[in-house]
Subunit: 316 residues, 2 copies
């Protein structure tokens, strides 16, 4: 088999790719070179998943990569009508982020139940103020997004004794359908968003969704920023419509210093890091190399995205 051309979209070369040296012709590109390089590439590795350059540079009917891999769980930064319509295969980093994100969400749940942010603020003020806190076990969570990340979040919350409902697009065993969301929200202590960003989910956490939650509810978003109408969340927090929130993802990232989100009472802001444990870049690099070997052998790739839906469908 002749050497294929692998185009890597990133300023810094990803780790572990040296294993492909001599086996593929590797090009490195950035936003400025992508449109010129895409027609030359057989395979595109989107390492910088914060960029929407692929969507902007994707060739129409011309020569184009037959396979695009993104080193991320979400594929919202890639998708455009031309890519969806093409026969190019898209794969994602399924599996790498599941447990880290589930741990992160569990930590936020307990930290909010035990008011750790309040404790740290009082510590800064050298004030000893005993408070009563919440039990986690027996509380109720709704996890929106029934892919591997959402399911891992649900597993870990259940291990903590949280009564957890998982919500997906369509109902199946162990998963509630989207039409059941509103009644579930109305009984939730914790609402966790781990959904893919698609046309169907964009802005799904809007004023009506926050209004459906009880005043004691706390909301956590580890999916994508545009799943949430940020102004509606801010209003819900300021009006006491819900009790607290934590956002790891935002409509604009990095969140600009002037954003009003930084200092909304009851809102925890973190810099899109919920899945990024030590060694994650190595894991992502090794995962791509493994997929490349499957591709080079001509075998069917795993982690194939349903491009119309915008995520990897479940097969169980």
């Amino acid at each position: 088999m002749s050497k294929e051309t692998l185009l890597v979209l990133d300023a810094d070369p990803p780790p572990r790719l040296d294993r492909l040296t001599g086996r593929a012709r590797i090009l490195h590109g950035d936003e400025s070179t992508l449109a010129r390089q895409l027609p030359l590439a057989d395979v595109l590795l989107v390492w910088d998943f914060t960029s929407d350059a692929v969507r902007r540079a994707w060739p129409g009917d011309g020569p184009r990569p037959r396979w695009v891999h993104t080193a991320s769980a979400g594929v919202d930064h890639l998708m455009c009508p031309e890519l969806i319509a093409s026969d190019t295969v898209v794969t994602n980093a399924r599996g790498i982020f599941d447990l880290p994100i589930a741990e992160y969400v569990s930590g936020l749940v307990i930290a909010m139940a035990k008011d750790l942010p309040g404790t740290l603020e009082l510590q800064r003020q050298r004030r000893w103020r005993h408070r009563e806190t919440l039990r986690v076990a027996g509380s109720r969570a709704v996890v929106v997004g029934s892919g591997p990340i959402g399911r891992e979040i649900a597993r870990l919350l259940k291990a903590l004794g949280v009564v957890t409902a998982l919500v997906g697009r369509t109902a199946r065993p162990g998963v509630h359908g989207a039409h059941e969301l509103t009644p579930l929200l109305s009984r939730a202590d914790w609402v966790v968003c781990a959904a893919p960003l698609t046309d169907a989910t964009r802005g799904m956490f809007d004023a009506a969704a926050f209004a459906a939650m009880p005043a004691s509810a706390r909301f956590i978003n580890v999916g994508r920023g545009p799943l949430v109408v940020e102004d509606a969340l801010v209003a819900a927090l300021r009006n006491g419509r819900i009790a607290g929130a934590a956002l790891d993802v935002f409509g604009e990232e990095p969140l600009p210093p002037r954003s009003p989100l930084w200092d909304v009472p009851g809102l925890i802001v973190s810099p899109h890091m919920s899945g990024d444990t030590v060694g994650w870049r190595d894991e992502l690099g090794a995962q791509f190399v493994g997929l490349y070997e499957i591709w080079a052998a001509g075998d069917p790739l795993p982690n194939v995205v349903d491009k119309k839906r915008g995520y990897v469908p479940m097969h169980d």
Copy 2:
């Protein structure tokens, strides 16, 4: 059976005690009245467990309560040679705090692994700074204290995938003996102190104990303040001998505003609240009423403290 005299040590009357109205003669006392009232009481309920008034006021050979109950897990505030030598039965609030404290510790573990304190500080500064964090699953914890609280902490940490060793006074199935502590500390990512405060445990976390831990270790104390040599902990944190710590209990409580502990880098200070979830006072009151009914019926009390050891021994 004639009415017994129940003396309650607390400024505020505990909840749920109204159920005993008409069945016991209830006196309320405080530190100033205790010495005078103790000889009159059949039963003493120590509601305010922060006071060492009982130890100071306990009668020698004279008339004294036949039963003392403390609304706390620890009994260190009560114990004195005269009480230990007497035939007075001492019971504690075994069971009430187990799950809340285990949740609290689990929350601290995840919050430290994911650097939630750093995230909150950066948020205050409106700074977006991505960091790589630690996986909790697969990390190693040593939980010192093999009573119900320590065992519940170990259960919950194991549910999070933490490889957890439990250490008690003597080895038994599932529990390491105290002589195994040092080698266990040397491999620990997390060291959790949930031991009773006794002559054998006072100051056990000293410079040598912190020196035995790896530089990546983080220490959590939810037992009693004097289990830790606070100066040695501060030195270990300032010298980078260990990576972080969280104290919920202190040698002096409330921690005075001038204490140097408030602003040691890497140290989380909380106001002795790890076990105090909403409704805890009701639970403690109801637990005492239940014990009182057993006592009044002449049946053997559960939760009986081994006064020489200073805790309720395990029977399994």
